[in-house]
């Protein structure tokens, strides 16, 4: 899968020359991402009824910026990322609290911090920062340590703190993604299965309590998910119209730019959350399966790159990033097909929207950094020496 690499002569070398790092980047992976970005541009072109404005051009430039960010992140030594993992987590958590406080003071339900050129969404950033912090934590742990329940209190707190804050925003989709990607990391770190069973049981019993804390619109989303056809003009409208669009596409689709449901505006949010529906309406099952296959390829690349790393932080980070990516893909597509409630998760690299793209590409940068620096070995207490 990965290209045949020349055997590195500097197995334990602290510093790699820049050109060698470039050489080590998986360019086939980068090409794969570019392909997905291009599909995004084409789909947004269709969503605007054959116009580059307002979405396609901006999506393209954002992708280029995000691509540059990714490559820059890939160039930074993985040990640097490991060293600053907690710091990154702490800063993100502070930002998350900041938007929460601002929201509660009454500035409206803003979930982002405007930096002028880009709007930072701390909840998005947390998806990466949490992976880094957990990877950092479990990097230094032995199997015995992981076996002690008390050892898990700190990482559990690392997860629950942002998850609760995000849930309060309220952003059910992001909270779900934080919990699920963390669960994957806990599992990979060696936490016993029965502990997941206990947590799962506790979670189920908490549902009635959680129900009381959900906002009305969230409850409606869950209820309409259970039975969307009962209210075709109200809350169930989105799901029903999305299914009609998908189903009417058939095997070969209605043709590029020919999707009647999406172009006649029956389909809501066709440029963001429901873009998969439009793509599958126009390109049919063939197009939909091709896209899913491309996403699967990205995940397989992610696995391969993570597994090639010779340090545990790298492997955990790689797996965490890949899992986050997988969750984006799965939740979005499952949601537009009516398999799970509508929670507002975009389709990676294709949906219009800057923050999710930047988050993902930053994550892929980390993944590439892990891959570029795959042969660096880091001690259990490592990452503090000279880099």
């Amino acid at each position: 899968m990965t290209p045949q690499e020349p055997i590195s002569l500097n197995v334990n070398r602290s510093v790699m020359p820049f050109r060698e790092k470039l050489w080590h980047i998986s360019w086939s992976f980068v090409v794969l991402l570019c392909l997905l970005g291009a599909i995004g541009v084409a789909t947004l072109y269709s969503a605007a009824n054959g116009h580059l404005e307002p979405w396609a051009t901006r999506h393209f430039t954002r992708f280029l910026v995000a691509l540059a960010v990714m490559l820059a992140v890939a160039m930074v030594d993985v040990r640097v990322w490991m060293r600053y993992a907690y710091v990154a987590y702490a800063i993100t958590l502070v930002l998350l609290v900041a938007v929460e406080i601002r929201g509660s003071i009454g500035m409206g339900a803003q979930r982002w911090i405007d930096l002028g050129f880009i709007q930072l969404q701390p909840s998005e950033m947390m998806k990466i920062a949490l992976v880094m912090a957990l990877a950092r934590y479990f990097h230094g742990s032995t199997l015995e340590e992981v076996g002690h329940p008390t050892y898990l209190i700190l990482p559990a707190a690392l997860v629950l703190l942002p998850a609760v804050l995000v849930l309060k925003q309220p952003d059910l989709g992001t909270a779900m993604m934080l919990l699920m990607s963390s669960a994957a990391l806990f599992f990979l770190a060696g936490v016993r299965l029965w502990k997941f069973g206990i947590i799962g049981a506790a979670g189920l019993s908490a549902i009635p309590v959680a129900w009381r804390f959900l906002k009305d619109y969230q409850r409606n989303r869950v209820l309409t998910f259970m039975n969307p056809e009962t209210d075709p003009l109200g809350a169930g409208y989105h799901i029903l119209q999305s299914k009609i669009a998908l189903g009417s596409g058939g095997i070969l689709g209605k043709g590029f730019m020919q999707g009647t449901q999406s172009h006649l505006n029956f389909l809501p949010e066709k440029q963001t959350d429901f873009i998969f529906t439009m793509l599958a309406e126009e390109l049919g099952m063939v197009g939909g399966v091709t896209l899913i296959a491309l996403y699967a390829l990205v995940i397989i690349y992610g696995y391969a790159m993570a597994m090639r790393s010779r340090n545990h932080f790298g492997r955990l980070t790689g797996m965490g990033i890949t899992t986050t990516f997988f969750l984006y893909v799965f939740i979005n597509i499952a949601m537009v097909m009516g398999l799970i409630p509508v929670v507002g998760v975009p389709l990676p690299l294709i949906s219009y929207g800057g923050t999710a793209m930047l988050t993902l590409m930053f994550g892929f940068g980390l993944l590439l950094s892990v891959y570029v620096h795959r042969d660096i070995q880091i001690g259990r207490r490592g990452a503090y020496g000279n880099i």
């Binding site: 032995t142 199997l143 015995e144 994957a184 599992f187 990979l188 770190a189 060696g190 119209q241 299914k243 009609i244 669009a245 998908l246 189903g247 009417s248 596409g249 058939g250 095997i251 009647t260 449901q261 006649l264 505006n265 029956f266 599958a280 049919g284 099952m285 939909g288 399966v289 899913i292 996403y295 699967a296 995940i299 696995y303 993570a306 597994m307 545990h312 492997r315 797996m319 899992t323 997988f326 799965f330 597509i333 499952a334 097909m337 398999l339």
Partner: protein, 631 residues
Amino acid sequence: MNTDIDRGKLFGRRVVVVGAMKAALMSTLIGRLYFLQVVEADRYRMLSEKNRISTRLLPPARGMIVDRFGVPMAVNTQNFQLLVVSEQMNDLDNTLDALSNIIPLTDHDRQRIHRDIERHRSFVPVTVRENLSWEDMARIQVNAPDLPGVIIEEGLTRNYPLKELGAHILGYVSSVTEADLNGDPLLESPGFRIGKAGIERIHDLALRGKSGNVWSEVNSVGRVMQEIKREDGQAGAEVKLTLDIRLQQFAATRLGEESAAAVVVDIHSGEVVLMASTPSFDPNAFAKGLTSSEWHDLISNPRSPLTNKVIAGQYAPGSTFKMMVALAAQESGAMTPEQRVFCSGSLALGNMRFHCWKKGGHGSVDMVQAHMHSCDVYFYEVARRTGIDRIAEMARRFGLGTRTGLELPGERTGLMPDREWKRATLHDSWHPGETLVAGIGQGFMLATPLQLAVMTARIANGEFKVMPRLTKALIVDGPQSKEANAVAVSPLTPLGVAKNHLEVVRQGMYSVSNVQGGTAYAARLDFNGMMLCGKTGSAQVRRISVRERETGVKKNDDLPWEQRDNALFVAFAPSDKPRYAIAVVVEHGGSGAKAAAPIGRDIMREVLRLDPTRDPSMTQTSETDVTGDGG
């Protein structure tokens, strides 16, 4: 380090587990995609079509109503409407301000426009004003660049160019009410009108035509993106009536201010060539909308302009009924035409005394003379000998007491009383005196002018029970040519009255109009040698008190209008070769001889004068030839 190796092994195993879970979930997505796009594809394709295709009805143009020569009586006129589309305007109030400089808008108008705009989607045009004049339209068109979102649209409204003439027959159209809805989507299209009275109602389905359809692609808010298919409808059929508009015009003028009814029937075909009821009303006023005071004037007018008196006015037939008595008497053998009755001016029955209209009496009269002088005593005696049931049976054969079946809503039955009727409705037995009163067409008896015309037509025809009808043909405008469907006429049933009996009655009617001393001799007709045979009638509408009986009956001229006698006249012409029958009723006109007979004579003269142009063999030729002959 041992632990690191263990950790690595566990990690490797768990990566496989996590990977397998992801693979399973991804497969679920593909499975779901297969389910939606392959298994359920047809269902969703159908739903998708239903989503995007909107069907709009194209209401057909309503058919015209014309007289027997094709003169339009009900047409559709172009109506220019001023509409505004809110989404094309910068500011509604600014636009309305600009508009009010051209056409005045009241505050009430403005409120309604605002309300309509709020109710509809922003691209739906809202009516500002209907029936724009040419000047207003021109001024709006000139200012069009300054009036964004203002459009003028062409619509059709029903118009009755002859106004009062025939208003009672044509009826009117009006908006569809809840009760009219029957599932036909055409009825639900905005602004659709259906016939609510008269011919408009009876032939509503034919006049309506068939709606067309436009299929358009619409977006989620219902805006039309493009037209996909169009299927034109079928315009409504043209309804050709049997009426002659020239006669309608003449009769309306002749009847003038009277509260009266006149009807002329072809004694062979039953075609109603004239049906006039005065006073009348302008049906166009209904289309525009009446003010409450105008409406109040119409319904409180004692001469009831809204009623078609020809079919809905019920009057005691008076002496015009005497032919029925004579026929019943001959048929039963109670009286031969030659038998005479002495009229002394009154007839006693028990302790009651029944007077003749002529104080001194007529002396000895036979049947023909009794008709000629309209001798009451003669008919008291004949009725007494014949009996009410035989008289009623004869009268029913001539169409009295039942609806004639003319294709107009609102026809009334009149009343032909007999013993059975009185027992059933008044729970009382028939008194002999009532037979006498019935003998001169008074008492319980009621008839509509149309029934009297049909009765006269059957006397003149002699062979068949003539049935009146108003519709000559329904003409459907086909793709190639006009296709006329003459209205099917059901075969007539025989009258079943002996010819010689009828001849006596006709002789009596001839004498009425053509022998000196006949009650209608003053109103006799001689048009190119064509005479008419008539019968007058003056029917009391009030009870005469005992005291009045002693002091002498007041003259009609001394009574208030609503207490005067109804004046009636029936006739057929020409006398030797009958063709038309007429009935005239002038409400509270006084004497039939003075008030009704001259009108009947004048109308009949016009009917005969114009007859050659109406002749079926002549209508084939061009009309100019015909007028030359007739004039």
